[in-house]
Amino acid sequence: MNWVHEPVGIWVAAVLGVILLVSLAVQVAKRRATERAQRLSRAQFDTLLNSLGDGVLIVDKDSRTLMHNAASERMLGPMPAGLSAQERARRITVRYPDRVTPYPPDQLPLARAIRGESSQGIEVFTRNPDTGAGMILNLTATPLRGPDGAIEGGVAVFRDISEKKRTREELERSNAELEQFAYVASHDLQEPLRMVASYTQLLKKRYGGQLDADADEFIQYAVDGATRMQQLIQDLLAYSRVGSSKREPKNVSLAQVFERATANLRAAIESSGATVTHDPLPDVMGDETQLLQVFQNLIGNGIKYRGAAAPRVHVGVRRDESGDYVFSVQDNGIGIAKEYFDRIFLLFQRLHGREDYPGTGIGLTITRKIVERHGGRIWLTSTPGEGTCFFFTLPAERTAWHPTE
């Protein structure tokens, strides 16, 4: 064939060639773009992983290390890819939180994950292989599944909770010490106090009026002091017992609690001519004995701190926006000035002398502790000379128990 005499053929070949080249170029460009996109998405992934505070360790289905993040490296040291489970175990010993018992390797969360079992919140003790620093980790591990659902590996996420655990242990130890103190107070302190109180009273009985007036006065002060100290110790014990009570919350009929409280207050109600009324009261979850203390204290105060008129106390209840119960104890008594609203809840703080109104100033302190332990709050409104209204909430659901308070 004669090339020069076939211009159409050349053009076709040329055009075809250009098309081929362009398509090649486009393919290369596309592939490069995909690669760049993958690199970018991979970079985002890496940045995300490495900025997490929690450690992340990913293994394949043979439990060989695939990747780990910066936090993991900080806590457990570097982990080259491909590291087997045995090699990991050799570098990093894992024990139960008692720091002594070795953790069976097949029970470790990652080992369970590649068998298909997720686990959450598992606590283990381990040491940083470089610094030797011990730490308690909280681990969560999940199986990694492919698009067909088959297990391809496992992901472990873990956090150093040493600080939190230490704080919790200190709190438990401090609570145990407080309980022990309360026990000592109840037995060992009371006995010598009984001696002082009994013998000063015996002195008064036997020699009162036989010595001079000064002696009688001295003895009286001694007797008063001893008696008051006994009451203070009883009250302190009652206060410490609020937190240490180990009773599980049960269903409590507040209607019945109200009846018991008013029965206990019968003498005060009769002698003051008080009228105590109530709205229909619901059932709640809680400690019946403690809730009785709350009602008895608040209703009792409404009667005790009365004005000239016969006391009228009303216990009301409504529900607030979150569904919690809001109780109110309204009285027509002497009222409380606003500047004392915080003070009255403090231990042994009173606004009146012992001669004016009896009491040690522990009632509201205990009441507040009980309310807060049940997950509620307590506050008040008051107009001096007209009356006071105490409000407290109790959650309608199973109470948010705060055993450490």
Binding site: A197, T227, Q230
Partner: protein, 152 residues
């Protein structure tokens, strides 16, 4: 020794097992004005208490108690052990035992009755109440109640 009965003018023998001398004295004071004549002996710990009722050693001439007032918290041997020992001894278990202790612990109460304490009293903190309690013990156990005849 010939057995004696409540109607005689012979005094009732009371054994107080108590380690606190202050409490011993208080009990003595309270029983002093009792309507029924009584003779109070004291054992200061659980070992002495058992020696007394068994008439061992220096207690060879000790009177057989008609009534025992027993504190629980004692040195050397606790009142709980004394209670268990006396109430499991056929020769001694007739003797009424009134547990008189500072403890208000529910476990202590339950266990005392389980070991056949005749009754359990928590010592009141207030003097007047304490005196009333001791007088009540005396009223009840010495005047109202018929005490068992001696077993010899």
């Amino acid at each position: 020794m010939a057995p004696h009965r409540v109607n005689d003018s012979t005094p009732i023998e009371i054994l107080l097992v108590e380690d606190n001398p202050g409490d011993v004295r208080l009990t003595r004071e309270a029983l002093r004005d009792a309507k029924i004549r009584n003779n109070l002996s004291v054992a200061a710990d659980g070992v002495e208490a058992m020696d007394f009722v068994r008439r061992h050693g220096k207690f060879a001439q000790a009177p057989r108690p008609d009534l025992i007032l027993l504190d629980l918290n004692l040195p050397r041997k606790s009142g709980r052990e004394v209670l268990a020992e006396i109430k499991s001894d056929p020769a001694l278990r007739r003797i009424p035992i009134v547990v008189l202790t500072t403890s208000a612990d529910e476990q202590d109460i339950a266990r005392s009755y389980e070991h056949h304490a005749n009754c359990y009293i928590t010592k009141p903190v207030d003097l007047d109440q304490f005196l009333t309690v001791v007088n009540s013990i005396e009223d009840f156990w010495l005047s109202i109640v018929r005490l068992p005849p001696q077993t010899e």
